[in-house]
Symmetry: C2
Subunit: 134 residues, 2 copies
């Protein structure tokens, strides 16, 4: 067991193996690709986030994939979160904002208003999970 976790002990090696550790991540965006969200176009929503974030140099990822190892946004697909009736669901953490019925045409506004300017897009935000106290 101890041996399997050895990489965690060597910080320099770890940061080479896991570049996200040294990226200035500010937001983690999840796009639901569960059955219901997929049926209303969540793959297109995710592609639109990828396009918008790539254009702005904000998308964290490998340089050889055109992404930015110092990007501030991680974009990840996720399974169903319970917004099946009102997809596509997009969650922005750590802010804890759940957006509903997101269409590709909404993505630029979420990127600009929320991820760049730090203000929630109220017309699409249906739920908010407050951060627990430390």
């Amino acid at each position: 067991m101890a041996e399997e976790r050895a990489t965690l002990e060597d910080r320099a090696q770890l940061e080479r193996l896991v570049p996200v550790l040294v990226a200035p991540i500010q937001h983690h965006v999840f796009v639901c690709t569960g059955k219901s969200c997929s049926a209303v176009g969540s793959a297109e929503v995710k592609s639109e986030f990828e396009k918008e974030l790539l254009e702005r140099g904000m998308l964290f990822g490998k340089e050889k994939k055109g992404k930015n190892p110092k990007g501030s946004v991680v974009l990840t697909e996720c399974a169903s979160v319970g917004f099946c009736a009102i997809g596509a669901a997009v969650l922005v953490y750590p802010d804890g904002v759940w957006y509903a019925q997101v269409m590709p045409s909404d993505v630029a506004e979420i990127v600009e208003t929320h991820l760049v300017e730090g203000r929630v897009v109220e017309r699409l935000a249906l739920m908010r999970i407050a951060k627990s106290p430390d």
Copy 2:
């Protein structure tokens, strides 16, 4: 377009359709089921979270699935987050804590210490994304 979003206008109907809106959610736990994390047993890690959270009545979900519609934890699979070299990755939001090399035997401690008591399990926590200012 306006019509497609009509359900968002009727709050009572919306809460029937989307029970997570009225659940007292405190934590959203993501377990990575990307290729690398799956290869080191992330499916078992997710099952263990499901078991632990079910036993405590904390797992949000439908009653007919044995879950709790008033549960405080949403548990969701996600795609790769960049912890491929150090999986299984488990993320706890909105706290913004990314756990690495999580094994099924670690899950009870994460549930008890972090989700119940509110303290980060430091020996497994590799990254933390701070919440942006409101």
